[in-house]
Symmetry: C2
Subunit: 346 residues, 2 copies
């Protein structure tokens, strides 16, 4: 384990943007990507934070992410738009889509924005939080390279497609659900393999579609969706909204952002935005959502030392602390980012 | 077990409507409800079909469902509407909302319709199928009386809120996902209790929040959400979209439609409708969704005798058969419906 160091949010954002521009990214797209990555680190979602930068820089240099990309927004109707990412950094594509969706929803009360020709967009929680801070409900999702079999199958054809639902509260914490579709993330299986531990039953199947607790067999096989046929169906539902109707790639047509550094992923994403004030009025909505949050939080806990929380509450507490005290990073990750920002080859 | 009898779809629909009007329902609301209930039976979702009629008739007579209800639609924006159900039959409220949403989405490409002051709306699949047959994508949900604890809690505060996602294909079967949020339905726990069998681990907690395999302890306690914190979060997300932003009741404020026959449930529902042709064009969407369906269906199956299906495929095959051959019902259920239609007290 490397020592931990602390860095201020603004400094980490500048460093992340500098790493991306050193690898060829345009300044605005680098800044958007840095914003979303650092927001993930603030929320404690470090797996989707600045530790992704080395791969992004490799992909920028090898062409999987297009440095000179032109992101375009095509409005299809007053409340519908499609964004063509031209294989840009996924965060830049998604943030363009979110901003366009928020503008439309401010006008009409609702918006759907889909993205195609995009790349890995990071975690969904930062987009959900941004929508909440502007007072909008968000339903969002992204497709991803295939790692799971459809229920009853024995070949990976579904992505671990994340889904987010966010609802603004009068003050933080907002309701911020961001979940992927597998029982456990692939990274956890890789860690078990490195550490020579079996994985719990129910996480994965081997290449023949049989349950396994052997992490190597699981990695050669595929992850199981949470809730069996339910997670399998929900993964497909996200792909339909993020991939099929946007004109993006979907299912096995998607290219893995890690396996093929020179190939655009062709990912699709979507954001649905609704202005709750247009439905209920600001006062009635604020009262209802506050009561909702309190009813959940005041549930008698199974463990008296662990109060019941709404989704995203712990992350938002972590964020408040990190904004105040700085973001903790492993020393060697910070050194790597500094080298990338100085133009070192990946 | 009662013998099975077969009845034609139109005959069952007329019988169901007659039972409801005999209990005081207005003709149009009875017909809408009969349509949705029989559609559930056609799809093989018998738990949400005409077997619910006896309870609905009791609720109509005792006032939990308002016989003289006036359902009103208030358009809030070109693509936003709220329906006030005035405590009518939930299917009549939901079908009004769906039709209004389909009209709006045909105009603008997208619509959100929320319902408040509603009652049990049955299964979501029939609404999804109707949207698909008109060429629209549907995301829909409803809240329900509390039967689950939020993750980490030991008191039932969440409903087993169903969520549906439906996407039209050029020809059936359409993609038709309709899922509730518990690992197993409460009805299955009741059956285990009647039959003196333990329930599997992971279905439920006892009243103290401890895992149990005793069905009686489970019924005194609460159901577990599928996927742990994920199903718990998703149940809350559905309630936010169906209950909070519609002005409906939510969480523990909802009244159970079974426990209190004289009390309106105050349920909330929502439908989101999107016209995929407005995003992609009819031809490109048809090609993409057909390829999507084939990629899922052609996954090599774990069991060679059980091909991989898309969500709702089995139900739609069952529906085609029932439309051709008639709907099978237990003899005693048919006799009960005939008695209700003849004005027998429930």
């Amino acid at each position: 384990m490397s020592d931990q160091v602390t860095i201020a949010t603004g400094d980490l954002r500048r460093l992340a943007a500098a790493a991306l521009t050193a690898a060829g990214a345009q300044a605005a797209q680098a800044a958007a990507t840095a914003e979303v990555l650092v927001e993930s680190d603030l929320l404690g979602i470090t797996t989707h934070g600045v530790q992704r930068l080395a791969t992004y820089c490799q992909r920028l240099r090898q062409g999987g992410i297009k440095a000179a990309a032109q992101i375009t927004v095509e409005r299809k109707a007053p409340s519908l738009a499609l964004v063509d990412g031209d294989s840009a950094l996924g965060q830049a594509v998604a943030l363009t889509a979110l901003e366009s969706g928020l503008e439309m929803a401010a006008e009409t009360g609702i918006a759907y924005v889909g993205c195609r020709n995009s790349n890995h967009l990071g975690a969904l929680a930062p987009y959900g939080l941004k929508a909440c801070e502007k007072g909008f409900l968000l339903v969002g999702g992204s497709n991803a390279a295939s790692t799971m079999a459809p229920w009853g199958g024995r070949e990976a054809r579904l992505g671990n497609n994340p889904l987010a639902v966010a609802a603004p509260c009068p003050e933080a914490p907002h309701f911020l659900l961001d979940m992927a579709m597998s029982v456990a993330a692939r990274g956890k299986v890789r860690r078990a393999e490195r550490e020579g531990r079996p994985i719990p039953e129910g996480w994965a199947l081997d290449a023949e579609g049989r349950p396994t607790t052997d992490p190597a067999a699981a990695l050669a096989g595929f992850l199981l969706p949470f809730g069996g046929h339910k997670g399998s169906g929900l993964s497909q539902a996200v792909d339909l909204l993020a991939g099929v109707v946007t004109g993006a790639r979907f299912l096995t047509d998607l290219s893995s952002g890690i396996g093929h550094l020179d190939r655009p992923s062709g990912s699709g994403h979507f954001f649905l935005l609704i202005d709750p004030k247009r439905l209920l009025g600001a006062g009635a909505y604020a009262a209802a959502v506050s009561r909702f949050r309190a009813l959940v939080q005041e549930t008698p806990p199974a463990d008296p030392a662990a109060p019941v929380r709404i989704p995203g509450q712990r992350q938002q507490a972590q964020r408040a602390k990190a904004l105040r005290d700085g973001i903790e990073l492993p020393q060697d990750l910070l050194a790597r980012l500094e080298a990338l920002a100085a133009g070192a080859p990946d």
